[in-house]
Every structure is written in structure tokens, then in C-alpha cells.
């Protein structure tokens, strides 16, 4: 590109690139230290007070977004013996970028869970706002003997608003095997049928809870129906998955919270 006129630069999609990182390690006194706790740009990380062996971290959005063109990455890792719990201070809103044809935003989450460690990844919901386009990828790698509790909630549009385009892929690996690899696309521009009777049928909130634990290797829970639109299913390995759709985010949370209390 040779176009370097100021006007052209102002119009060019100037997305934010930012990565936040947290690493948890045993502190040698029965607790967990955070040798890496590093935010960037719109992603800030804060350690919060907590009793018990786990370190608690909150992801604080220092700016709104992601907006079209942004590429945000969050990496959380536990070392053997560490216990980490990551939440977020508020819902994440996928927002449109500037201009008619703003490019898709990306949000990548990379979780690494070592043996004998625990990672709770419990962010607040992701809201796909009208006119936005976001591609989320979440990849969790759990070593043999590691514990992962992962919650993912997506709400399509703010109240009574049509959603933007939201594409998300969740991949959970345990040891050398892929336990779960799922993609969901919703909103304008998603493949036809996404809101039809096979996929969402008008529900505006969709979520899942994944629990990987060595205990499930010997004692996996049986598949169960948790309500009209929620089920628990054992994965092909030491993990379970709760899948739910609901009319809104509040009712979705209730289902996933009940499941979390029961199976973690």
C-alpha cells in the first residue's frame, strides 16, 4: 500500500492489538503466587483478595470493546500445584467498529492447565451487540491430572435488540486428545438456519460449562437432562459438558450455576 495520505490513514481500520497474561505458581506456603500478571491496552488484570489456596484474578475492561478490527488475547496458565480463579468485572460487549465495513474483531483465550493444578475460568457473559462482528476462539490444554472449570455464556443482542455476527470456537484438549471441539455461528451473516428449530429456535442466550477432572476417569456422571433446554453429557475422556440455551442471560446463568455447584 502506498496510500499514506492522512485522510486514508484516519479511515483505515485501526484496531487495537493487546494481550493480557497471567501465570499461577505455588508460593511454597500453601497459597498461589502470580509471577506473571500483565495487562495491556483495554485488558487489565487485578488480583483480588481471597481466602484459601487459590489466587483470584479479575479481568477488568479498561476500554469498551472489542470493537471491529481489534484483536485481543488473554492467556492464563497454571503450573503444577497452583490454583487460579479468573473472573471478569463486567460483561464483554462485542461492538461495531467505525465505518460501514469495519472488519471482524477477534478475541482469543488460551488456557494451559498443568498436572495437579486447578484453573477456574469464569468470565461474565459475552454480549453480541447489533452491527458487531466478533470471532472468539477459546482453547484449553489440560495436562493429565489437571482440573479445569470453564464457563462460556453468549447473549445475542442487548435487550430486544438483534445480535451482531458472533462466531465462536471452543477446543478443549486433555493430555493428547481433543475432548471437545465446537463451533457456533449466530447472527446476520451466519450460515442459514442458525435461529431455526435445530439450532437456537429464538433463544437469545447460549452457554456451556466444561469440567475436566481426573476423578471423572473412574467415576463419570451419567448423562442427564437438566431442564427443558439443558443437558449434562460425559465427554469422551475425564470431562463433562453442560450445554444450555435460555431466553436470556440471567436464566442461562441460573442453569449453569446449579450445575457448577453440583459437579465441582
Amino acid at each position: 500500500m502506498t496510500s499514506s495520505a492522512p485522510a486514508a490513514r484516519a479511515l483505515a481500520p485501526a484496531g487495537v492489538r493487546a494481550t493480557a497474561r497471567v501465570t499461577a505458581r505455588p508460593d511454597g506456603r500453601g497459597g498461589t503466587a502470580l509471577p506473571v500478571l500483565q495487562g495491556e491496552g483495554p485488558l487489565a488484570l487485578r488480583r483480588t483478595r481471597a481466602a484459601g489456596p487459590a489466587a483470584h484474578v479479575l479481568l477488568v475492561g479498561a476500554m469498551s470493546g472489542p470493537l471491529g478490527g481489534d484483536h485481543l488475547t488473554v492467556e492464563a496458565a497454571t503450573e503444577p500445584g497452583a490454583h487460579l480463579r479468573v473472573g471478569s468485572a463486567a460483561a464483554t460487549m462485542a461492538l461495531p467498529g467505525q465505518g460501514e465495513a469495519s472488519p471482524e474483531a477477534r478475541y482469543d483465550v488460551r488456557l494451559t492447565v498443568a498436572a495437579d493444578s486447578t484453573l477456574h475460568w469464569l468470565p461474565e457473559q459475552l454480549i453480541s451487540v447489533r452491527g458487531s462482528a466478533l470471532h472468539v476462539t477459546t482453547r484449553a490444554d489440560v495436562a493429565e491430572g489437571g482440573h479445569l472449570i470453564l464457563r462460556e455464556e453468549q447473549t445475542l443482542g442487548r435487550t430486544a435488540e438483534p445480535p451482531g455476527l458472533l462466531r465462536s470456537r471452543l477446543t478443549v484438549r486433555h493430555a493428547d486428545r481433543v475432548l471437545l471441539d465446537q463451533e457456533l455461528a449466530c447472527g446476520p451473516g451466519a450460515p442459514a438456519g442458525w435461529d431455526g428449530p435445530a439450532v437456537l429456535a429464538g433463544h437469545r442466550a447460549v452457554g456451556q460449562l466444561v469440567v475436566v477432572s481426573p476423578e471423572f476417569r473412574t467415576n463419570p456422571p451419567a448423562a442427564a437432562v437438566l431442564g427443558e433446554h439443558a443437558t449434562l453429557t460425559p465427554l469422551a475422556g475425564p470431562g463433562i459438558l453442560v450445554t444450555a440455551v435460555a431466553p436470556d442471560g440471567l436464566r442461562l446463568r441460573r442453569i449453569l450455576d446449579e450445575a457448577r455447584e453440583r459437579w465441582t
Binding site: 475432548l179 438456519g193 435445530a198 443437558t231 453429557t233 460425559p234
Partner: protein, 225 residues
């Protein structure tokens, strides 16, 4: 490649046990989400672009002879959240393998049967069977995609007493979507040697997975899944 072999494999009367499965339609009818031809079409379109695309990608990859059918089989497990649907896919795979080995005897099908005594997943068997029949990845993808919609359409004729002409017209209206899904599946399958199995589509349909698990718990049902 033989067009005749494609007709035999894609024929609903090919004795592979598919007629006993509704592809999630029985649960959707019971929930009141499928009530006639228009909602059947929406249902089928949604299933085609999710489950259908995933199955077509896996079948195409298997038809290409991607080594490591065990890895493909594992990918089906990862792409299918519902245990009930994973069980159904293995059962269908076992039945198809029996029919396929009798129809197009091949060392690859024999090896698949030895490697998976409890049954390999249906799309993996379908792709391998297509290969044994001298067909290519696009044929396998079309077969997989088509049966994700023909199953529900036929089932709804029985479940709702829908006019079979209307059900068949629904399938005809899905033609462009079928072409699109089969083409995407084949493109993805060709990327597997370079990018690995993550290149294959992983599209999911939450209500199909939830309904599949709930349906398996019903005491009385017309279809197996």
C-alpha cells in the same frame, strides 16, 4: 468413479439402518418446533449447516484416505457433545460397515472393522465405504450432507403425517445449501494433510445436542435418535 455406485450408497434403501433414526426430528416435533413443511425446512437447513457440514467434512477426509482413521473417529467424539448422539453414530457406523463390506469388499473396510470392534463413527465409515466403492471425497460429502436432511424429512412424514410430496419438495429447496455444504466440506478435507484435523468444520447445533440427549431418555419413542 461410478455414478451407479453413488446411487447405491446414497439410496435410502441401502441396508445401513438409517431409517430407524430421525436425525433429531422426533424431539423437535414433540417440542413443537417442527409442525409442518416450513419449519421442517428451517430445521433441515440448520442441521445441514452444522451437523451436516461436520459429517460431510469427516466423510470427505476419510474418503481422501487420510491416514489415521482413529484420529478422525476421535474427532467425531470431540464434535458431538451428546453421548446419546455419539452412541447413535457408532451404531450407525457399525451397521453401515456391515453393509459396505458386503457390497464393496475392501482391505480398508476390513481394517476399519478390526480397529473398531464396537463400531467406528458413521461419517468415518461412510467416507471409507465411498473409497471402497471407487468414489471420491465430493461423493462422500454429498452422501453425508444429504442424509442429514433426508432422514428428518422422511421421519417427519411419519411423525406428523406430512404429505410426502411436500417433504420431498423441502429437500429439493435445500439443493443450493447442499452444494455449498459439500463444497466447503471437501475444501476443508483437502486442508487436513497440512493443517491437521482442526481444519475440519466443527459447527454445532445446541438444540440438536440437547434434544438428542433428552430423546434418548424417553421411555417410548418411534425412532432410535
Amino acid at each position: 468413479m461410478s455414478r451407479a455406485a453413488l446411487l447405491i450408497l446414497a439410496d435410502g434403501r441401502f441396508p445401513a439402518g438409517g431409517h430407524a433414526h430421525s436425525g433429531g426430528a422426533e424431539a423437535a416435533v414433540k417440542a413443537g418446533r417442527v409442525t409442518g413443511a416450513p419449519s421442517l425446512e428451517d430445521f433441515c437447513r440448520g442441521r445441514l449447516h452444522t451437523t451436516g457440514l461436520v459429517s460431510a467434512g469427516l466423510a470427505a477426509a476419510a474418503a481422501l484416505g487420510a491416514d489415521g482413521r482413529a484420529a478422525l473417529d476421535e474427532a467425531v467424539d470431540a464434535h458431538t457433545r451428546s453421548l446419546a448422539l455419539r452412541t447413535a453414530a457408532r451404531k450407525l457406523g457399525r451397521q453401515l460397515l456391515r453393509a459396505g463390506r458386503a457390497t464393496w469388499p475392501s482391505p480398508e473396510l476390513d481394517a476399519l472393522a478390526r480397529a473398531f470392534p464396537k463400531g467406528a463413527h458413521q461419517p468415518v465409515v461412510l467416507g471409507t465405504t465411498a473409497r471402497a466403492a471407487g468414489l471420491g471425497p465430493a461423493d462422500a460429502a454429498y452422501c453425508a450432507a444429504y442424509e442429514t436432511v433426508s432422514g428428518p424429512a422422511t421421519a417427519v412424514v411419519r411423525l406428523l403425517g406430512l404429505d410426502p410430496f411436500e417433504a420431498t419438495a423441502v429437500l429439493a429447496r435445500l439443493g443450493a445449501d447442499l452444494d455449498e455444504v459439500a463444497a466447503a466440506a471437501v475444501r476443508a478435507a483437502h486442508r487436513v494433510p497440512e493443517e491437521g484435523l482442526h481444519a475440519l468444520p466443527a459447527a454445532s447445533a445446541p438444540l440438536l445436542e440437547i434434544g438428542g440427549e433428552a430423546h434418548a431418555a424417553w421411555p417410548v419413542r418411534l425412532f432410535a435418535s
